[in-house]
């Protein structure tokens, strides 16, 4: 019970902190819009409204990943700078219960980008959103957000060793957009790429969102997305022990 409370309270408080940084919000919304706009122009040349809708839904998730990739990869580093890493490690709470909500708060902020991208597509490109399964859409979105958060959590734990972790997270922005099929159908990729795509939760999240809007069977996709997300969480939690022990041995929990 305490574990659940820690995660919930942590999530709310970190969301509070993230919302209080105005720039985080604005740039986080505008950046993916550049790419969405480019994609919309490209898709528009097909003169096919369903193609544009396909692009709009895919592009809307781009911002969720952007909001997560760089910030999550450097999350632990940033706590070290703030001096909050040591006080947190010194508590009896399991470190993953602290890190997980941070990553999920980050991906949750991405919802502004998602809404903005859909609105942008509507206003400037006349892309009307269809909703074949509205309830499943409302399920698919949070599941995608949480799973992307879990991926961010796993990322934060695996790259913590590197001082320049943010650069690694930054470099992962485009690859996920590409490989998870946000704007490109997976069938266009060489065969060996597909297992990689399938192992990534965002692939299923985007599929779920698209199928909920355009028609299909999103439930399986939602389940796959959730399962993968859970998997990332578990692996991350297991790694945390090793990471922290190493940090305590090498005295890297603080800057001094």
């Amino acid at each position: 019970m305490n574990a659940v409370r820690i995660v919930l309270v942590g999530f709310v408080l970190h969301l509070k902190m993230l919302s209080r940084s105005a720039f985080t919000g604005i740039l986080g919304v505008i950046w993916p819009l550049f790419f969405a706009t480019t994609a919309f122009f490209m898709f528009r040349t097909r003169h096919d409204p369903s193609a544009l809708l396909y692009a709009s839904l895919g592009a809307s998730v781009m911002g969720i990943w952007s909001a997560t990739s760089v910030t999550a990869s450097s999350a632990i580093q940033r706590q070290r700078w703030e001096g909050t890493l040591e006080p947190i490690v010194a508590t009896p709470a399991h470190f993953s219960l602290v890190q997980l909500p941070i990553a999920i708060a980050m991906s949750t902020i991405g919802i502004y980008s998602m809404a903005s991208t859909l609105l942008w597509g509507r206003l400037l490109f006349g892309i009307h959103l269809r909703m074949v399964h509205p309830l499943l859409f409302c399920l698919a979105v949070p599941v995608t957000i949480v799973s992307i958060g879990m991926l961010g959590f796993l990322l934060s734990v695996t790259v913590v060793r590197y001082r320049t972790a943010w650069a690694l997270g930054n470099a992962l922005e485009y690859p996920i957009w590409l490989v998870c099929g946000f704007l490109v159908p997976l069938s266009l990729f060489p065969g060996w790429v597909r297992p990689i795509s399938w192992a990534l939760a965002p692939t299923w999240g985007v599929r779920a969102i698209r199928e909920a809007a355009l028609g299909g069977s999103p439930l399986w996709d939602v389940a796959a997305c959730a399962a993968l997300g859970l998997g990332y969480g578990v692996i991350g939690a297991l790694l945390v022990g090793t990471v922290l022990r190493s940090a305590r041995a090498r005295a890297t929990l603080s800057l001094t």
Partner: protein
């Protein structure tokens, strides 16, 4: 069995030197520290900056793994049973960082209350009590980024006490505080042992250790050089006196020359305004002033005075001894 037990704790850091050809150098910050703290004691770890106080305390609060040796808090090993230790200790570190700036003090405390598993129904009451205790009541809803240094320090104290731990570790808690704030904090610390908590305090303020602590261990260059009650340590220097000689510009060589004079126990240099003062501790019965001044022939010498030794002198002697 003591509440806090340290047995031959050692900690080595690897640092890299040089920009082009990086060499890894091993720095031994703590070189075999052992001590025990009993229940309800206020134990002081006293030493100059860089002596290894913070490293020692971090090993005890499970943030650092000792390179060698072992330590236990309330019977739990700090490495193997880290979680059990963390449940039972609180720690307060000085400094501006370590709290979430964009949150209010209240939110900070709420969060850590969860992390320390303070039961939900007790949290509100406990937080209110602590805010009152540290004097932050009424300002708890403001964001920490607007807090002064002293207020942040007090927030650290409140956080350390959230789960009512039986053992408390304080690392230089009054550093950077104004005199009034520091005094209030010391009073708070003293009251903690009055209610049965065990406190380990590190400081480099002599008078603070003297005033607060039941027992003191003096640490210098990673080793404990003396241990005992403040009275014991003072007794160590009660015999003898201190001669202070003002010199101008020749302090370093003077130190060497004076060290070898018979009866001199230690020589150290203090900067005071324009001059440097040689603080010479001498054995009690001897009249050495003449001999000392003789050795300083050729240097510019100002005022000369002699006085009774204080605990400060004992401390200086201990930490500067080769």
């Amino acid at each position: 069995m003591g509440v806090i037990e340290a047995r031959d704790l050692r900690r080595t850091y690897k640092t890299t030197t040089g920009a082009l050809r990086r060499r890894t150098v091993d720095v031994e910050a703590v070189r075999g520290v052992s001590f025990e703290v009993g229940e309800g004691e206020l134990f002081g770890l006293l030493g100059p900056n860089g002596a290894g106080k913070t490293t020692t305390i971090k090993m005890l609060i499970t943030l650092l793994i000792p390179t060698a040796g072992e330590a236990r808090v309330l019977g739990f090993d700090v490495v193997k049973d880290a979680r059990e230790v963390r449940k039972r200790i609180g720690y307060v570190f000085g400094g501006d960082r370590g709290v979430y700036e964009r949150l209010s003090a209240l939110d900070n405390l709420r969060y850590f209350a969860e992390l320390y598993a303070v039961p939900a129904r007790e949290q509100k009451r406990r937080i209110a009590e602590l805010l009152d205790l540290v004097g932050l009541a009424g300002r708890e809803k403001e964001r920490v980024e607007g807090y002064s240094r002293g207020m942040r320090q007090r927030l650290h104290v409140a956080r350390g006490l959230l789960h009512d731990p039986p053992v408390l570790f304080l690392d230089e808690p009054t550093i950077g505080l104004d005199p009034v704030g520091a005094r209030e904090l010391r009073a708070t610390i003293a009251s903690l042992t009055a209610i049965g908590k065990t406190v380990l305090l590190t400081t480099h303020y002599m008078f603070e250790a003297d005033a607060l602590c039941d027992r003191i261990a003096v640490i210098a260059e990673g080793k404990i050089v003396a241990e005992g009650t403040p009275r014991d340590l003072k007794a160590g220097v009660a015999r003898g006196k201190v001669v202070e000689i003002e010199v101008y510009g020749t302090a370093d060589e003077a130190v060497e020359r004076l060290r070898v004079v018979e009866g001199v126990r230690s020589v150290s240099v203090e900067e005071r305004d324009q001059a440097q003062v040689l603080v010479v501790q001498v054995d009690g019965e001897r009249e050495v002033t003449h001999a000392l001044l003789g050795r300083l022939d050729g240097s510019s010498v100002g005022r000369v005075s002699s006085r009774e030794p204080t605990l400060e002198d004992a401390y200086v002697a201990l930490v500067t001894a080769e």
